[in-house]
């Protein structure tokens, strides 16, 4: 686990440092652009003398000051280890664009991600498993084929594109749902039930986008393992021994079909955290994914690294959770 964490963070850290457009470069860019836009700021209207500064050269002192501002030095390795030290002691640094502690930014966005994560997991597990079982039992029937058709069509549409379509029709044209956002602007003035209604009303469209992709994967996984299990000897034995078909399917076959699902349970946690930056952008939802995406775009290294570190840790916790789930579902695996 620890080497994985180190390798990932080192890779991303150095990638961040080498891509163009970091804070120092932005300041240079600003010096360059200055001549064309600063006029209005400085003196009512303009100044054509300004261009004498438009050389884009920062003096060493200016550069040092800016670098100190952004916690950067010439030695990238030293910076990395400084970052690692700070992170391990619980300090994720300060966002260069928002000028707020990264941990605060992350914590503020957690409830939104957890909301979408938990509910989408409930729907995925609550719907996909019965659907998969049903499809396995009625393999190659009309209902199986029709549901497969829809599941795969949904799988083929990217969540964010689906979101745009939903917004245009369900929110714009027919006005059944709100146009994006996590909750409405007057949310705080609503009562308890009003708030719940508002939350859910806003969540329908984005939730559909979160779900469509995972749906096909989960349903087909359940169906295929179920089909495998149904053809195994132990089911035949059970049936031969007079176990009712229902019991054979739901007790024996289903429990065994859930094992591959359980190994995936932990990975689903990354959905909770990662969210989807594109869906969040389309629906204007200030979640974890959007934070990561915006920070990447604005080259806000502290946030990129902070988000990455947390994702890494959560992914690892997820793996651990998967193992626990497998142990819970699979009687062959036991903790000693």
């Amino acid at each position: 686990m620890i080497p994985t964490f180190l390798v990932i963070t080192i890779l991303v850290y150095f990638l961040c440092r080498t891509v163009p457009g970091g804070p120092i470069e932005r300041e240079k860019e600003r010096m360059m652009m200055a001549q064309l836009e600063e006029g209005a700021q400085s003196s009512g209207s303009y100044n054509d003398e300004l261009d004498k500064f438009a050389t884009g050269e920062l003096s060493d002192e200016d550069k040092a000051e800016l670098m100190a501002q952004y916690n950067i030095s010439d030695n990238a390795w030293a910076d990395y280890f400084a970052w690692l030290g700070r992170t391990l002691s619980g300090d994720l640094g300060v966002s260069a664009t928002y000028n707020e502690p990264v941990s605060k930014l992350v914590i503020n966005r957690m409830p939104i991600s957890i909301f979408y994560g938990v509910i989408s997991m409930f729907f995925i597990y609550g719907i996909c498993v019965p659907l998969g079982v049903l499809k396995a039992l009625k393999n190659e029937s009309l209902s199986d084929n029709i549901s497969s058709f829809f599941v795969f069509v949904a799988y083929a549409i990217p969540g964010y594109a689906f979101g745009a379509i939903l917004l245009v029709y369900f929110a714009g044209q027919w006005q059944l749902f709100p146009l994006g956002n996590f909750v409405s602007d007057h949310y705080d003035s609503l009562g308890f039930w009003g708030k719940i209604y508002d939350l859910l009303h806003h969540a329908v469209l984005p939730m559909s986008c979160y779900l469509i992709g995972s749906f096909a994967f989960m349903t087909m996984l359940v169906k295929n393992t179920m089909l495998d299990n149904l053809s195994y000897d132990y089911i035949r034995t059970a049936l031969a021994k007079g176990v009712p078909y229902r019991k054979a399917v739901f007790k024996h076959a289903l429990d065994n079909s859930l094992i591959p699902l359980a190994t995936h349970f932990g990975n689903s946690i990354s959905i909770i955290i990662g969210g989807s930056f594109l869906i969040e952008t389309v629906f204007n939802i200030e979640g974890f994914g959007l934070l990561g995406f915006n920070s990447l775009e604005s080259r806000d290294y502290e946030v990129v690294m902070g988000v990455l570190a947390i994702s890494c840790i959560l992914q690892m916790v997820g793996n651990l959770l998967s193992d626990i789930c497998v142990a819970y579902i699979d009687p062959r695996v036991k903790f000693d």
Partner: protein, 688 residues
């Protein structure tokens, strides 16, 4: 089965719990409001000393009161203007790291300067200054500050606020090297004669003297006194800063200077010149950690609006100052009418457009041809008479879109080749097809600058015969099997055209198609904006597709002066190195009277046309937007300087009653017939 149900049950309860916890949360959005401080609690910092000089008595005073008003007396106050931002500002500072967001303009617009420019006549009109006068040698501008002028916390605007701005902008604590340099060299000093009388000293005589001296103040009482710190600077800068602060250069620094100078002169040719030493000097500075402390603070302003509350990442609300000091002044009356301006963050343009169609946003810019001609061609609210589309031609300096050739490229050095390429670019065809004929062809590099723009010069048009003629002259006489021209050395006539905006691809493809017919291959080269910008400034491009913003007067030096040629990191993207142009640019910069400057500007344009280091492409001399009906504007619609109906001039207003009426009609889907769905105003179209 049991285990599965347990897991699903667990997830179900987790979902319910999350929903309940979210619903139980108070102040969900973490709304922050501006803190109110009463005048009595404000501590007045120590005033700056009055200067020793005498207030001259022989000055000719101007007050700009002879211009026409440009607002509508029918305007009514009230309502909220809803608009959107694509991202939340990284902070509310106007200087320092990451302060240069698009949102800064919204704050800048509410900081008045000493004088303003009349949007129609371009003459000076009073703002914070009531009167102004220029010294005979044109290096000092005297201002009488309007005694009525107040910050929105109630404190009067006084001379100290201007001096404080100068000192604060020179201080290292704001971490803004550009401002440090600018305010150290462009303004020599500000003299205080009394509370309301100041003089701004410029380093040398300049054209447009008053505008150059017309600073904005910074509230001294709000930021407090400056402190002195020791700071290291490179030797020459340290000395210039000491001179700037009217301090004597200490002997130890003089000694270091002498040593450094002698070591430079004694350094042998070929040897590396010694590095300039750094020395420590005492400078004035703003409070410690100024940048961090002022990220989200809301400073008092002199303008009509100021931020009243905000939700980080989500929205910012500006509120009108009901007791604004200038609300009854001649040029400010009947302007800035809405009570609140609400900026909501909407990252996706399509989402913003949908919100506009529902009336959640009051206006939407329809400048891009694909919006005007396709997405917004038929709009339900327009058909029902709730909304209007407006196309207004303006007359103001245009941003300069151009195609620059890198003259340091071994082949592009050849003028014949450049001319061939220029004649092979069918820009008109691109404008007519991809841009629906909306954008107009730019004839020169500076359009819309009034008399400064060249009145007769015409850019070279697409001309196949001439293109072929020049390609032949440049040696590209043969045509290879793929249809691309080739010279005797076997070099093919193919160049990379570097550009940043992905939506420009179509435009360049249109040029590429036409050029190919003449044997010129243009290869499209596109990365993300930052990378493209870096490549252009490092002069790594062959041909650059780019644009510059507009100022009040044409600016040539950065783009075309030879002192920037063959060097990285500057704006001379074509590496133009021409003595004649550079000499004229220098004359232009230091010329004082307008006719000379105008004549020089024309001559420079002519010479640039002749040299063809770049070719101007198009301009967009208008604004277009969709407006809900409740947004009202003066009968003349807008001034030639407007950016939109809703902009810094604040001429529009919102008819609150009509807004209610229309919203009621919207639910019943009633149709109103009494306004034209589209207004196209061409009063200011074409050259003035």
């Amino acid at each position: 089965m049991k285990k599965y149900l347990t897991v699903v049950g667990f997830l179900f309860f987790a979902s319910i719990l999350t929903i309940i916890l979210l619903a139980a949360r108070k102040n969900t959005f973490l709304r922050e409001t501006r803190e109110n401080i009463s005048i009595a609690d404000i501590k007045r910092p120590k005033p700056f000393p009055i200067c020793d000089e005498q207030w001259p008595t022989d000055l000719v005073w101007h007050n700009g009161m002879d211009q026409d008003i440009f607002s509508d007396p029918k305007a009514t106050k009230g309502g909220t203007w809803n608009t959107s931002l694509t991202s939340f500002p990284p902070n509310f500072r106007q200087v320092g790291p990451d302060s240069n967001s698009g949102f800064r303009g919204a704050m800048d617009d509410n900081d008045l300067g000493l004088v303003d420019v009349h949007p129609v006549t371009q003459k000076l009109i009073p703002a914070l200054a009531k009167e102004w006068a220029i010294s005979k040698d044109r290096t000092i501008v005297y201002f009488k500050i309007d005694p009525d002028a107040k910050w929105d916390d109630g404190m009067p605007v006084i001379a100290d606020d201007f001096i404080f701005r100068l000192k604060a902008m020179r201080s290292p604590g704001i971490v803004a090297p550009w401002y440090n340099q600018y305010y150290s060299t462009m303004v020599s000093d500000i003299l205080k004669f009394d509370k309301h009388k100041i003089a701004v000293k410029l380093p040398s005589p300049m054209a447009d003297t008053v505008l150059k001296a017309a600073m904005r103040p910074l509230p001294y009482h709000y930021y407090g006194e400056l402190r002195e710190i020791r700071k290291k600077y490179p030797l020459s800068r340290a000395i210039s800063y000491l001179k700037r602060d009217n301090k004597e250069v200490p002997p130890n620094i003089l000694k270091i200077k002498d040593e450094y100078e002698s070591s430079v002169t004694s350094a042998k040719e070929g040897e590396k010149t010694p590095k300039e030493p750094s020395v420590e000097i005492t400078v004035e500075d703003v409070e410690a950690n100024w940048v961090k402390n002022h990220n989200w603070k809301i400073q008092p302003r002199t303008g009509p609006y100021n931020i009243s509350s905000f939700i980080k990442g989500k929205e910012v609300t500006f509120e009108r100052n009901k007791n604004w000091w200038a609300k009854d002044k001649k040029y400010y009356k009947n302007r800035y009418n809405v009570d609140q301006i609400r900026y909501t963050v909407i990252r996706d343009t399509n989402l913003a457009f949908e919100k506009f169609k529902l009336g959640q946003l009051d206006q939407f810019a329809l400048l891009l041809p694909n919006y005007w001609h396709s997405k917004a061609k038929y709009l339900d609210p327009v058909d029902r008479g709730y909304m209007q589309k407006l196309w207004f031609y303006t007359q103001k300096p245009e941003g300069s879109s151009q195609i620059s050739f890198n003259l340091d490229h071994p082949r592009l050095k050849d003028k014949n080749l450049r001319l061939g390429i220029i004649y092979a670019l069918n820009i008109q065809n691109m404008l007519d097809t991809v841009l629906y004929g909306d954008y107009e062809r730019s004839e020169t590099f500076h359009e819309g600058y009034g008399e400064y723009s060249h009145p007769t010069l015409k850019a070279r048009r697409f001309n196949p015969q001439k293109a072929i003629e020049y390609f032949n002259k440049a040696g590209y006489t043969k045509i290879a099997r793929d249809g691309v021209r080739i010279n005797d050395k076997g070099e093919i006539l193919s160049f990379k055209i570097l550009y940043a905006a992905p939506f420009h691809t179509q435009r360049i493809l249109a040029l590429q198609n036409e050029a190919k017919k003449l044997g010129l291959h243009l290869e499209l080269d596109n990365f993300d904006t930052t990378a493209v910008f870096k490549a252009m400034l490092n002069k790594e491009h062959e041909i650059a597709w780019h644009g510059w913003g507009a100022g009040l007067r044409p600016q040539y030096r950065g783009q075309f002066h030879q002192s920037f040629a063959h060097k990285k990191q500057n704006n001379n993207l074509s590496n133009l190195d021409d003595d004649e142009v550079s000499q004229m640019i220098d004359e232009y910069r230091f010329a004082l009277d307008t006719p000379t400057r105008v004549e020089l500007a024309h001559k420079i344009e002519e010479r640039l046309f002749e040299l063809a280091p770049a070719v101007p492409t198009y301009k967009v001399p208008y604004f277009r937007q969709g407006l809900w009906r409740w947004v009202k504007y003066p009968p003349f619609i807008a001034t030639p300087s407007n950016d939109m109906i809703m902009d810094a001039y604040g001429l529009f207003w919102i008819d609150v009653e009509l807004q209610k009426e229309i919203r009621a009609k919207m639910t019943k889907k009633e149709i109103i017939y009494d306004i034209p769905p589209l207004i196209k105003n061409t009063r200011y179209k074409g050259a003035p």
